[in-house]
Structure formats: C-alpha cells, structure tokens
Amino acid sequence: MRLFWHQLRWEQLVFWRSREAAVFVFLFPLLLFALLTAVYNGTLYGRPASWGLLAGMLGYGCANTAFAGLALLLISRRELGILKRIRATPLPTASYLTAVLGSIMIVFALQAASLFVLGRLLKSTPWPGHFLSIVLTLALGGGAFAGLGMAITGFVRSLEGSSAVLNVIVLPMAFLSGSFGTTHHYPKVLRIIGDALPLKYMLDAINSVYLHGGQLWHEWTDVAVLVGWGIAGILVAMRKFRWEPREG
C-alpha cells in the first residue's frame, strides 16, 4: 500500500510536469466545450444545447483521457524502456499499474469537475442532480476505457505516430457516438457502427443521469455493455500487454 501511494504521488507529478500531456489530455475537452457551446444554440436531447454538449464532452473527455491518454503514456514508457526499468525494482507490478490507473482517473475526475464548473460559468449549466449516479457513471466509463487503453497498447508497435493512431480511433468514435450532437439524423450505417461503440453507451448513461434525472442503476443495458467492453479490454491486455520495447 505504501508503494501504491508513493507511485500515485509521483505519477501525478510526472503527468502535470509534462505540458504536452496536460494540454492534450486534460485541457482539450474543456477547450472543445468552450468552442462548441459558442457556436451551437437551440436544444439537444430536449435540453439546452450547452447541457447536451457538456454531457458529450464528459464522454469524449473520458475516451480521450482514460483510453488515449493512458495508452499513450504506457506506450511511450514501454518504448523508452521505463517499464522494463521499473520491472527490475521491488515495486510490484500490481502496485504500479493500479497507481498509473488511479492517476489517470484523478486527471479525468478533475477534468469532469472542471467541465461542470466551466459549463456553469459560461452557460449556466446545472450541477448534476444525482451526484452518486454521475460519479458512478463516470467511474464505470473511465474503468472501461482504461481497460481498452491497456489493450490497445499491444497493437501499437512504436511511439512514432501512436498519438495519431489513437486520435483516429477516438475522434470518429466520439463523432459516431454523439459527443458533438445527436446522431438521429446520421445515415443508418453510421448509426449502426455507433451502436457498437462503448462511448455510445457511456453517453446514453450520462444523458439519462445528467439531462433527464435518471439513476445509473436503471440503465442496465448501458452498464452491461460498458462492463463487457471493459472486461474484453482487460482480457486482451492480459494477452497483449508488453513491458519491453520490441527488440532491435
């Protein structure tokens, strides 16, 4: 436990010291929210557009932080030999990975809180009504995307271009799942693809809880799909995760 806290503290320091990561992972969804709410008016999902966009950016931020941010961090550490180096120390791998995961969750939690504050300041969006439900929803989504983030590292072979690869996954997913607005008018084939993506279910859950005053535990389809994706990610990660850069 001491090692976990030690590592968590240092993970936070390393994250915030790296300006690129802090800007790209933490700030980017906040920036998008500010831009989108500046240009979209009217309503979304039966609520003011800014409310719906706030929900959309919570989902996008989750994928961007827990999935892409975590994957990038692990890939760069793997390719630089940092993961291999840490394996030679007495730090147990479980303590290490849980601390890395905990750290990225802290980043996401701060981001989500900042989104609510920013929404309040810019567009007077309401605070979430069911606090426990929204926390659980974000935690569930964060966990599922972190599992997928661990899994994707096994498929990205080098540091070069890894950031582009992850964005090619995250941005279209966010678009198809409805982070930037409703998908009702999308062509059917795009909607079908969207329906297969985990972010769609996370956004459904966020919308129900934040926009329509529901509770997470009534959205069992969303919960089941997210849990399923998360478990699938962890299973793949257990087979594909590597600690060392590819030889030569």
Partner: protein, 282 residues
C-alpha cells in the same frame, strides 16, 4: 562465497539457440566481465539473471535466489543498468532518485548517490537537459539508490566519448571498493581489461575462454616483433623473443643499418579476443 552460480544455462528463441550451455561463477565483491561480439548471447544471459527472461534449462543461483521467480526480496538486492533505457524527461535528477529510492526498503541517501555518480551539480536540473553521458550516470545512480549487493551493467559506456568513459570507469572502480559484486557486459576490450577481475569471452552462445585478463593474454606465449626493412614492414611471431632479437640486432649491427620502427609486443586481450571471436564477427 559465490554471488552468482550459473550451470549449463540454455535459452532458445524460436529455433535459434541464443545461449547454449553456459556455466560460470562470480564471487562476492568481484567484477566479472562478459565479453563478446553482438549476438554472442551476453544480453540474453544477463537478462535471465536479472529476471527478465525465463531459461529453458540449467541452474541459476543469484544471491541465493532463483531470478525466474521474480521475488521482491531479490529485487531489493540487485541494481540494473540496461543497455537502452530512458527516464522521465521532466523530473529533476534528484526527483528521479527519490522516485526510485521509494521502491526500496533500505535505500541509500539520495544526495550521497547523486554525488557518487558525479551529478552533484546537476541535482536540480531536469533529466531532459542532461548530456548522453550524464544520462548514463543517472541510470547508474538509479541502479545504486536501493543499495544493492549486486549490480548488472549492460554495456555501460557504449556511445561515450573517451573522457566520459574514463570517468565511468573510475565510478565503477569506486563501486567495487564499496564491496559490490558487479557483472559487466561489454564489447570493449580495454574496458574489460581495465575493470574486470575475471572475464569470460562468449561467442555464439558459449563461453569459449574464461580467466583473469592477464591469464587470457598470458596463455598465448607468442610475442610479435615488427620492424621495417627497405621500407617494408616485417612482422615475426616468436615464442623465443630473446633469441630472435639477438639475431636481428646482431645482423643489423654487422650490416651497419638501423632496425627502423622496431617494436616488441606482448599480445593484448584484444589480440586474444580477435583470435577467439574473429571468424564469427567478420
């Protein structure tokens, strides 16, 4: 007391047998050099001892542990400098040492270690501002911060300029005076000759020669004599240099000419090494 015992160690990757029955012992407090060209199996051997690879067969005992079991207790007692690895660019030298010190139950004083590896003046600089040689010293500092009994150094001076290399050698000598056991791999002969109490030369997955550097060079009894005659370099190998030199100088004196460029050379470790590994490396 042996710090490391390796018997009949074997390891294959796919169909390629990288390590083919390697045996050696390293005593406590000894600096042991594993020499050989790239692909000889040095790194595979060392990575099995460090616990990164599982062996196919053979016995390995390091400080009383089997490294394949990757116990925390074992990792408390070893320090590892990898061939290629980087650390966090945005942490300072001191922060990096503190981060790693936190992994050990009985770490050394962080500032003491930083001074030992000669980074005292860079203590509060970010890692990304360090030169290549300074980064290697940081690697070494991080390997020492847990106060290990045994230190693995995988090609610690590759890519160094001559001055940085001398400094690194001094540092490794100072480790030895602290009583650490050191397993060093290198493909620099002078490095092994300078630092190691004993060396083993590996080629194609086997140890082909083992002993103190002086012993290795001593068991080839040939001496090389060179001089120029009419502008041509003449090289003679002899097991009886006294007689040869007497004859050469007598003849030259009689003819009233100088033995230009005369050198008499005992074989160095490099000659022995090249003779041993030559046909494979070409």
């Amino acid at each position: 007391m042996s710090a490391i015992v390796v018997e009949e160690l074997r390891k294959s990757y796919g169909g390629n047998e990288a390590v083919r029955g390697v045996s050696f012992r390293i005593n406590e407090g000894e600096v042991f050099g594993l020499l050989g060209p790239n692909g000889a199996g040095k790194t595979t051997t060392v990575e099995i001892l460090e616990g990164y690879r599982e062996r196919d067969s053979g016995r390995v005992d390091v400080l009383g542990f089997d490294p394949a079991r990757a116990e925390q207790e074992y990792r408390e007692r070893i320090g590892v400098v990898l061939q290629q690895s980087q650390l966090f660019a945005n942490l300072t030298v001191r922060e990096t040492h503190r981060l790693f010190a936190g992994y050990y139950r009985h770490p050394r004083d962080v500032d003491e270690v930083i001074d030992l590896v000669g980074l005292g003046e860079k203590r509060d600089e970010r890692v990304k501002t360090l030169s290549g040689g300074q980064k290697r010293r940081l690697d070494l500092g991080v390997a020492l911060v847990g106060d290990p009994d045994l230190v693995f150094l995988d090609e610690p001076t590759t890519g160094f300029d001559p001055a940085a290399r001398r400094a690194a050698w001094e540092m490794i000598r100072s480790l030895r005076s602290l009583g650490k056991t050191i397993l060093l791999t290198t493909h620099y002969l002078d490095e092994a000759e300078q630092l190691a109490d004993r060396v083993a030369v590996m080629r194609a997955g086997r140890i082909i020669r083992e002993g103190a550097p002086a012993e290795l060079t001593g068991d080839t009894s040939e001496t090389e004599v060179r001089y120029r005659r009419n502008g041509q370099v003449v090289v003679v190998h002899t097991t009886d240099p006294t007689k040869l030199l007497y004859e050469l100088t007598e003849q030259a004196l009689a003819e009233g000419r100088e033995l230009e460029g005369l050198t008499v050379r005992r074989p160095t470790l490099e000659d022995v090494y090249l003779a041993l590994t030559g046909d494979d490396d070409a």
